[in-house]
């Protein structure tokens, strides 16, 4: 079965962990994830600049590793990301910002990617509010 998974909540919200555990369970049960979509505060997960205390888990790093390991399509809403200061090299250049803080395996793209994923998935699941 094909799953589209959207996350709306940021790294500080337990929903970010629930969504990751769910995504892991989807793959380990032999299903596929057609697309992950990060909207609203979840775009902060794509930032590479967060630093967690050494004895605490780093949810952003775990997501990044999970996406890279399974070569998943991980789309970050570009409008939500720009508002919150999550920019890749191209956007940092376009808007004359001094640094970029996201890159592969994340992709910045539009809401249409979520709409498209909702249409093609057998199951669409959203985490966070």
């Amino acid at each position: 079965m094909n799953f589209a998974i959207a996350l709306l909540a940021g790294p500080q919200d337990p929903a970010a962990r629930s969504a990751l555990e769910f995504a892991r369970a989807v793959l380990s049960s032999g299903h596929q994830i057609s697309r992950l979509f990060f909207y609203r505060d979840a775009v902060h997960l794509a930032s590479q600049l967060g630093v967690q205390p050494q004895d605490e888990s780093d949810i952003a790093a775990e997501w990044r590793q999970f996406i890279a390991e399974h070569q998943l399509d991980a789309v970050v809403c570009i409008a939500a990301a720009l508002r919150r200061g999550v920019l890749d090299e191209a956007e940092a250049k376009r808007w004359s910002r001094p640094v970029a803080n996201t890159s592969a395996p994340w992709t910045l793209s539009g809401l249409g990617q979520w709409v498209d994923a909702l249409q093609s998935a057998d199951r669409a699941v959203t985490f966070g509010t």
Binding site: R40, W114, V115, L118, Q119, A124, T126
Partner: protein, 117 residues
């Protein structure tokens, strides 16, 4: 095409309100049959006579008015949420259709997918 119901639950001053409308407009622009249901504090988005400029925000009115133009079929508002806040249907923009709990249950059956924002 799978139909999509968006449930918008946040008050108008929140970024979340605008982001829920963006999803509805994006889906409609892609030709997805979709509806939007305002409930909980989301019903405040529909109140007439708001002045967002006083809190240095852009009004949601233009986005709301775009819903029917983009072909968002159902613009619905939860009767219970209005009542809880002492509001009446005639205070709502867009002639939003008032739905009770039983009708909401029917809606959840009717739409293929539900997204709560």
């Amino acid at each position: 095409m799978k139909s999509l119901l968006i449930i918008s639950r946040h008050p108008p001053a929140r970024q979340s309100a605008r982001e829920a409308l963006d999803v509805a407009l994006a889906a409609a622009a892609f030709g997805v049959p979709c509806g939007i249901l305002f409930m909980d504090d989301g019903v405040f988005q529909l109140m007439k006579g708001q002045d967002a400029t006083q809190i240095k925000q852009k009004s949601l009115a233009a986005n709301l008015q775009a819903l029917p133009l983009f072909g968002v079929e159902d613009v619905l508002v939860c009767q219970h949420s209005l009542g809880e806040r002492g509001l009446q249907a005639n205070q709502c923009m867009l002639d939003a259709q008032v739905v009770n709990n039983a009708e909401i249950a029917t809606l959840l059956e009717h739409y293929d997918q539900i997204v709560t924002l």
